[in-house]
């Protein structure tokens, strides 16, 4: 679809504004893996209530307005392996697309920039291998 970049830009601006609000009001980094992971392993500490409220908004509003087809694979082996790698990797690296990508690159953090280059590079290699090489996804 040739108009998808416009929606990408508008949605991106909304994501950036969400991060700006969370930073300027609450003094928090809007990183999805840090927020979810902090609640999973208890490292959120006193930030836990704010993180829980953030997650509630993140899950509930899209559920209310409706999410278009996500084209998610129904291969559970792939979902389990991918979910495990995403969870383990983002917590070892201390961030994902929102934390290292959006919040890191915007403050010109060398860590955020390097992390983003690496996970995009690994993602490209992963699709090349598993789609074009092995044909599993």
């Amino acid at each position: 679809m040739e108009t998808s970049w416009i929606y990408g830009l508008i949605g991106g601006l909304m994501i950036g504004c969400a991060g700006a609000v969370f930073l300027l009001f609450n003094g928090r980094i809007m990183g999805a893996s840090g927020i979810f992971g902090g609640l999973i392993d208890g490292s959120a500490g006193g930030r836990a209530p704010e993180y829980a409220a953030f997650l509630l908004g993140l899950v509930a509003l899209p559920a209310l307005i409706g999410v278009p087809d996500t084209h998610l694979t129904d291969n559970w082996t792939v979902l389990i392996a991918a979910g495990f790698l995403v969870g383990l990797g983002t917590r070892i690296a201390n961030g994902c697309t929102s934390g290292h990508g959006v919040c890191g690159i915007s403050r010109l953090s060398p860590r955020g920039i390097i992390a983003t280059l690496l996970y995009v590079g690994a993602g490209v290699a992963s699709v090349a291998l598993f789609r074009h090489g092995l044909g599993v996804v």
């Binding site: 991106g12 609450n26 893996s33 392996a81 991918a82 994902c96």
Partner: protein, 142 residues
């Protein structure tokens, strides 16, 4: 109470932004990563659009304090180490496999059915499995 309300609003705006931008569509995300196939550049516009207001926020934050008290997060700077590199590569492999990263996996939870829950459960387990690595890195720091 205000902190919780702002967190709720920020989370909701993040979620809607992910839906509007198309990032909850795993086909689109994998299309971006599929440089050998029908490459889809949308994610670049999403990133660019998100970085813009965020860069403004960082500039505004300089010399100020968060509106609701406390301090802005300090720059976590262990530098670029093996932990950052290895974790990011693992994350990227999983991202390419599924087309899901943590934000969209949560935002699209209502639409992804059982498969989405399976992904989130595996992700939570992976995060739990990272705890010893995180603890070891912290103790090595002294």
């Amino acid at each position: 109470m205000t902190r919780l309300l702002i967190a709720l609003v920020a989370g909701a705006l993040f979620g809607v932004g992910l839906v509007v931008s198309g990032m909850t569509d795993t086909a689109r995300v994998r299309g971006f990563l599929d440089v050998a196939g029908a490459w889809d550049p949308t994610l670049i516009f999403v990133m660019g659009g998100a970085i813009l207001p965020m860069a403004g926020a960082w500039a505004f934050a300089r010399g100020r304090r968060p509106r609701l008290g406390g301090d802005f997060p300090t720059r976590p700077d262990p530098g670029i180490d093996l932990r950052l590199a290895a974790g990011s590569v693992m994350f990227g492999i999983g991202w390419g496999l599924s087309g899901l990263c943590p934000g969209p996996a949560l935002a699209a939870m209502s639409a992804n059915g059982a498969g989405g829950v399976v992904f989130l459960a595996a992700m939570a387990f992976g995060m739990w499995a990272a705890v010893p690595v995180r603890r070891h890195a912290d103790s090595a720091k002294g």
